[in-house]
């Protein structure tokens, strides 16, 4: 019989080709007659362009064309923003694909050269003369919003693109009646996504037919098709976007970038295929970054530790231009999550989206939720310290009690299901919390500085009901669709509109089909990433692919099952209601020996020799799944660190992750997602951060300076879980892609502060590099 594979940790079917170098990425594709584009980028963070002289490029070896903003102006439309949050006075200044008269960040495109080879194109770039008039620069989002700050867009006063307010309950009253309050200013530094595969695009314009094909490193090819049509004017049905193998994204491959539009423009001008692939240095300068928050936050509580209010003012840096989804990240995906796992009756926040002279900021793994979790968990720890109680006890006192079907929080959203004490219990048991605290006490007696940090969280994923998407200004739907097609031999193709790029859905979606109708996983091929082949979908981001696209696969497969039952009843000469299904076989109740397998059914449906009256041939079903609510995974993480007070070095010694992502389709893939997520969240706590100087120059411009987490700096990560099914999801699934990142920054940060508290240090800006920690210790020891 068929092995039950739904819920088992089978190996990823993607991996053999990925780890043996047999996968084909955009840059691997070579088309006949293809030319290569290189883009000249502004060395200034803010400057007026007086002139661009390209005469030195003409006649250079291999050069086919050079274009500037004068050429694209009026031909390409501006790069659009697709998340227009309501009631926020959002400004959407023009974002030309190639700057014409002003550049606003280091990396802004100024000209493009197309040549027979990339080397020739790069050589030619050096011969373009641009006369810049440097303008004043502002980097900090908080400073950018002040009166008198350099003005980045003439039509955006004080650089404030939007002001978004959130209010639930009566926060002012909560603070005036509070027994205790705690507060902090939290800096969440810019992060560079560092996908292993840099971004790349190939555009192929076929003039006689008017067809434009774009191979693109996209997390959402259907959105890319729509936006390519908007920017180039090529009708949507004549645009095909193919996202072949995509090597990681972490959110940075959601946006539609100027580079794709410029590549398409070049192909359309020259009538030949044109490829552009970013260098790693370009990736650092131009690919969207994450976070960039300055958060002024405070919490009100009673003297026995009950949280009564939370109040924030957040300056969210947007970079020089609005990116595709950027306004939604610090608002809908951040502010609405301020309650975390806690019952907080009064919550308010004011969030300023602020332009600054850096690369555009957009979604980055966790997107808004790590920024929310960090501030909540930081304040809870500060409250515990102020009340001199164990931080775990403050959490327990304020957790929302377990619920199975809906809980409203003060920010106005409804969590689907949760059991926050359960994940914390599992975490503390696994870590043996009491022993850890005893070990910490012993270490302190020896003058060693061990710290224990907890990060608990609730996140929002499974984005989401399309009606809500519309209500919050997302310029699209958030449903997903799937086609499940059985071939005569009983083998299956599944076409989905989402676009996995490392998350493993070629495996988990096959497991869903196998679990529903009993085919072997190896008999199912999952196809994605080509708008001409796959049905419409909104893409892979926000931990939504398994939750939304997977639900569409399940619903479509259930339609297959219903039709199969009807066909089996006909073939077995029984009534449909008497047909039972088990393990891939349809049989008459009580007579399991008389059965039809799903393969029998597939063959008959495809040849259609003996179909019941009125039944269409074929065994294929499609489903459009629009979720009734978001899903809300949650969990509890714990980190143990030791700080070397002489040098400021932090050693991350132990890590426990307990996540509840609902029903798990493949626990091995869940574990892998948690591993990666935890590391990606620990990075910014201890090592990672993009640094711009006052002139807007990116000082962390390569992997020599930008410290990504490395395996030898990390402990074994203990991964555990609990299962609280989502009540509204066909499979009970919630989502796991971002959970680790959402919890771990706070857990690691809190652990370091726990270690430093006896030394009188209460706060240090991230990343907690040795010098910063050393200085904080010294300042505290020298009387602050």
């Amino acid at each position: 019989m068929t092995m039950r594979v739904f819920g088992s940790g089978i190996r990823r079917r993607e991996d053999p080709r990925l780890i043996t170098g047999r996968a084909s990425y955009t840059d691997d594709i070579k088309l006949q007659g293809m030319a290569h584009a290189a883009i000249l980028r502004s060395p200034y963070a803010h400057a007026r362009i007086r002139s661009v002289d390209t005469s030195g490029v003409e006649g250079q070896p291999g050069v086919l064309a050079v274009f500037t903003g004068e050429d694209t102006d009026g031909v390409l439309n501006g790069i659009p923003c697709a998340w227009l949050i309501p009631e926020s006075d959002l400004k959407t200044p023009d974002h030309p694909a190639i700057a014409k008269d002003r550049v606003r960040y280091v990396g802004d495109a100024v000209a493009v050269v197309v040549a027979e080879s990339r080397y020739e194109a790069e050589d030619a770039l050096e011969r373009i003369e641009v006369d810049y008039e440097p303008l004043e620069v502002v980097v900090s989002p908080r400073e950018a919003a002040q009166d008198g700050a350099p003005q980045i867009h003439d039509d955006v006063p004080n650089n404030v693109a939007f002001t978004w307010a959130l209010a639930g309950g009566d926060t002012d009253e909560a603070f005036s009646n509070a027994d205790v309050t705690v507060g902090d200013t939290i800096m969440l530094q810019r992060l560079i996504a560092n996908a292993m595969e840099p971004r790349s695009a190939i555009a192929q314009w076929v003039g006689p037919t008017g067809d434009l094909t774009l191979w693109s490193t996209s997390q959402n090819p259907h959105i890319a098709r729509f936006l390519t049509s908007v920017v180039t004017g090529v009708p949507e049905h004549k645009v095909r976007v193919i996202a072949p193998e995509v090597g990681g994204g972490f959110g940075s491959k959601i946006p539609y970038y100027p580079d794709e539009a410029v590549t398409a423009f070049c192909s359309m001008k020259l009538g030949i295929p044109v490829k552009w692939t970013e260098t790693r240095s370009e990736d650092y300068q131009i690919t969207t970054q994450g976070r960039d928050h300055v958060e002024e936050v405070e919490m009100a509580a009673t003297s026995d530790g009950k949280i009564t209010g939370l109040r924030t003012t957040v300056y969210a840096g947007l970079g020089a231009y609005l990116s595709t989804a950027s306004p939604g990240i610090p608002t809908i995906l951040h502010g609405l999550m301020y309650s975390g796992p806690y019952d907080i009756p009064n919550i308010s926040g004011t969030i300023y989206g602020v332009f600054n002279n850096g690369a555009p900021v957009d979604a980055y793994r966790g997107a808004g939720r790590p920024e929310a979790t960090m501030l909540i968990e930081r304040l809870v720890d500060l409250l515990a310290a102020k009340l001199d109680v164990d931080p775990v006890e403050v959490r327990r006192k304020n957790f929302i009690p377990a619920f199975e079907d809906g809980h409203d929080v003060a920010t106005g959203i409804t969590y689907d299901s949760g059991d926050y004490n359960a994940t914390l219990d599992i975490c503390l048991d696994a870590a043996d919390y009491a022993s850890l605290r005893a070990r910490q006490a012993d270490a302190r007696k020896e003058g060693r500085h061990v710290g224990i940090g907890v990060g608990t969280y609730v996140e929002i994923c499974g984005l989401g009901p399309s009606q809500v998407a519309g209500a919050v200004g997302f310029q699209g739907g958030l449903w997903e669709s799937a086609i499940v097609r059985f071939h005569p031999t009983g083998k299956v193709n599944v076409m989905v509109g989402s676009s996995p790029h490392g998350q493993g859905e070629e495996t988990t979606f096959a497991q869903i089909v196998a679990g529903e109708v009993g085919v072997d996983v190896d008999d199912v091929e999952v196809i994605h990433g080509d708008t001409d082949i796959t049905p419409m979908g909104w893409g892979t981001y926000g931990s939504r692919t398994t939750a939304v696209s997977g639900a569409a696969v399940a619903v479509a497969t259930r339609k297959i099952k219903e039709k199969s039952k009807a066909l089996a009843a006909h073939l077995l000469e029984a009534a449909a209601e008497d047909i039972e299904y088990e393990g891939g076989r349809f049989f008459v109740r009580g007579s399991p020996d008389q059965h039809k397998t799903i393969q029998d059914i597939a063959l008959m449906a495809n040849v259609a020799w003996d179909m019941p009256e009125g039944m269409e041939p074929g065994l294929e079903a499609s489903a459009f799944y629009d979720p009734p609510n978001f899903t809300y995974p949650f969990g509890a993480h714990l980190a143990v660190v030791e700080v070397d007070a002489q040098t400021g070095h932090v050693e991350l010694q132990q890590y426990y992750a307990v996540d509840d992502c609902g029903v798990q389709i493949n626990p091995m893939i869940v574990e892998g997602q948690v591993h990666g997520g935890v590391v990606q969240g620990a990075g910014p706590a201890l090592w990672e951060g993009a640094v711009y100087d006052d002139d807007g120059q990116l000082l962390t411009g390569s992997m020599l300076d930008y410290a990504l987490p490395r395996a030898d700096l990390l402990p074994e990560i203990e991964v555990l879980s609990n299962t609280t099914p989502s009540p509204h999801h066909p499979l009970g699934v919630k989502g796991i892609g971002e959970a680790g990142t959402i919890a771990s920054t706070a857990a690691v940060y809190n652990a370091v502060m726990d270690a430093l508290r006896p030394l009188g240090v209460s706060g240090v800006d991230m990343p907690l590099t040795p010098e910063k920690v050393w200085r904080a210790i010294n300042q505290s020891q020298n009387g602050g």
């Binding site: 290189a38 990339r118 080397y119 790069e122 050589d123 260098t279 790693r280 240095s281 002489q646 040098t647 090592w687 640094v691 000082l699 962390t700 390569s702 992997m703 020599l704 300076d705 930008y706 410290a707 990504l708 490395r710 700096l713 590099t769 040795p770 010098e771 050393w774 200085r775």
Partner: protein, 288 residues
């Protein structure tokens, strides 16, 4: 990453390499490529010609000589770290070579390229200075020897003449009964030494008979700490003696202490005594 156009020459021998260098103005020597190629990809270096010495057999290999080890310029960090003769005679060098970069860098990068690049945050110049190594070079005028302490003349600058090739690094064996250690503060991204401290201690009758202390990463060139060595000489190598020696290193730092976004000069200076203390402790523990 697209380097400018360059001309590639492969040298079959040291003399051919010297000739090619003389014939091609502005040519650069290419060996493991782990310092030069990254600069070329960023177009920070655009040499008109490359002279590849990577296949010259006479530059390969590690051999024990009387009281010393001679290491061919093309020996990789990995070869040095795993070499028995290096581990027996100059364990300090084996330890440092094993801490260079990461496995990929250690498998490609060479000792000759490393010291010729004269990066102040490199590991090998620090230990080679501590070990009183000497570098054999060959140029149009023949062969000569340069002491490790005199080799680097500034940030990324060396005493190597324009058309000279570094051929061999000779390292005197550590004295018998001595203990040595290299303690490194790795930059979390680049793995270069934010600070590297090397120490070699020898004792006679409970007293320190010789001490060598070198520090890299703090100043434009790796350098010995005369003050620390003086404090150790003749001492009983007690904790107090090591404390005093470590504290003395600050006095040897000039005005030119390095600084970057990861570590200020003030912090680097403050870490000097801490890392020297740790290197001395470890070296003392290894004496015997």
């Amino acid at each position: 990453m697209y380097a400018s156009q360059t001309t590639y020459h492969r040298a079959g021998s040291v003399s051919e390499a010297v000739r090619l260098l003389s014939e091609n103005e502005g040519a650069k020597i290419l060996a493991g490529g782990h310092s030069l190629i990254p600069l070329m990809k960023l177009r920070l270096s655009s040499p008109e010609a490359l002279v590849d010495i990577g296949r010259i057999e006479s530059l390969k290999g590690i051999t024990g000589k009387d009281g010393a080890v001679c290491i061919g310029a093309l020996a990789t960090h990995a070869e040095i770290a795993s070499s028995d003769v290096v581990s027996e005679r100059v364990p300090l060098l084996a330890e440092a070579a094993g801490k260079v970069g990461d496995p990929a860098v250690r498998n490609r990068g060479t000792i000759g390229g490393n010291v010729s690049h004269a990066d102040p945050s490199s590991d090998l110049p620090t230990v080679l200075t501590a070990l009183d190594a000497s570098y054999c070079v060959t140029g149009p005028g023949g062969e000569r020897t340069i002491a490790a302490a005199d080799f680097a003349t500034g940030l990324l600058e060396t005493a190597l003449g324009e058309n000279e090739v570094l051929t061999c690094v000779c390292v005197p064996s550590e004295p018998s009964g001595s203990g040595s250690a290299y303690v490194k503060f790795s930059h979390p991204a680049s793995r270069y030494a934010v600070l590297g401290a090397a120490a070699v201690l020898t004792a006679d009758g409970g007293r320190c008979s010789s001490a060598s202390v070198a520090i890299g990463g703090v100043e434009p060139m790796a350098a010995r700490s005369a003050s620390a060595e003086a404090a150790l000489a003749g001492s009983d190598l007690s904790d107090g003696a090591l404390d005093a020696a470590a504290a003395a290193v600050c006095g040897d730092f000039g005005d030119n202490v390095l600084e970057d976004i990861f570590a200020s000069s003030e912090y680097r200076k403050a870490m000097g005594p801490v890392y020297v203390r740790r290197a001395l402790c470890e070296a003392r523990a290894r004496m015997g």
